[in-house]
Structures are given as C-alpha cells and as structure tokens.
Symmetry: C2
C-alpha cells in the first residue's frame, strides 16, 4: 500500500537506498532517496521528472527536489531530497517509511 | 542520546544492521539486530550476554532474545530479536530507531 512515484499513478519498481539526517534538536531533518537505474528513467526523459511522490493510506508526501545523475551522458540514477521541518513532519514521514520498508524488505543499515 | 547496550550502562560501539518485518495488519512486527564482532563479545563471554537494551530519552526497551553466532567455535556476532505486538509498541520502537539511526548514520537499505 506504500509506494513511491515519479509520475502520478505509476509506482517506481526500483527500491531506493534512503539516507537520513536529523538536526540535534530533532525538529529538522532530511531524507535522501537514491534510485539506481529506476524504471522512471526508462519510461521518461530525465528532464520530465519534476517530482517524487510518496503515497500511502494516509495520503501523499511530495518533493520537487529530484535530480538525475548522469554517467557518460546517460541518466543512471535519480536522487530525491525530502526535507522535514517539524516533529510532525518527521512523524508523518516515518509512518510512510515504516510501511514502505516493511513492504519492500528495507532495513536499517550504515551506509 | 540513543544507544544499545548488552550490559546495563555500557554502550555497544558496533552499529548493527537492523531488519524489519511487519504483519499485513500492521499490528505485529519484528526487528532483528545483527552486530558483527561487537565489543560486548570482547568484554564478556557470549553466555553472559542475556539481554539487549535500547536506551533513549524516553526510557528503555529490552529483549532477552539474544543469540551469539559462532564461527570455528568462536563467537563472531550477536543477533537480537525484538518483537512488537501492537501499534503502540511499533511507534515507540520507531521513535528509538529514528534517534539511533540519526546519531549513527543509519539509513534504509534493502538487505
């Protein structure tokens, strides 16, 4: 029930690595999603991808901060940055991640 | 402020991989912590390690389900299993993991 989309309605099948940072106060943080050779890059031109959408039973989180990484002129990876600015945004994001992680066999690992 | 201990008061310095499972209903789940060559095995005999304690600003979570893995007769790894049986236990555990992950540079990755 939890999925990530680069085009509304189309689930990305490649599962990302997700890096987390959090400020010492705990109120601000970032999540960086790295998709290696995502399907979205096959289906779309890199420049058409302007957002990343995290969809679950509670609704949708989104960010417009998506970059393509190029190797030898070819887009190879997508990197999405999601910024959280309050405890509530963290909690909501983590509820999404718990669902997504459980469905896609993600665990916590040191990078 | 978030740490894992095998002996009360002594933080384990090795950072584990953590695998998560969750039931479809979302109410039950497990977290399996795998510590490769943890300091606790240098400081203690494997048979003395009878619990894993997750300590943060809210208090302490613990499990007695800790196993040592042996290679050629030597203990090489510790595996702790933490079982959650309600939404509340999940939420509490994830608050610990968010803190621990942010302090120890853990992210979400596929195993």
């Amino acid at each position: 029930m939890a999925s990530i989309q680069f085009s509304p309605g189309i689930d990305e099948v490649v599962v990302p690595d997700v890096r987390l940072t959090r400020s010492k106060s705990g109120t601000q943080g970032t999540a960086t999603f790295i998709f290696d050779e995502p399907k979205a890059l096959i289906d779309s031109d890199a420049e058409e991808i302007t957002g990343m959408f995290m969809v679950d039973e509670e609704g949708q989180l989104s960010t417009r901060e998506v970059k393509a990484k190029f190797v030898n002129g070819q887009p190879k990876a997508l990197e999405g940055l999601y910024v959280m600015k309050s405890e509530e945004e963290w909690d909501r994001f983590m509820r999404f991640m718990e669902r997504y992680a459980a469905e896609h066999d993600l665990g916590f690992n040191q990078a």
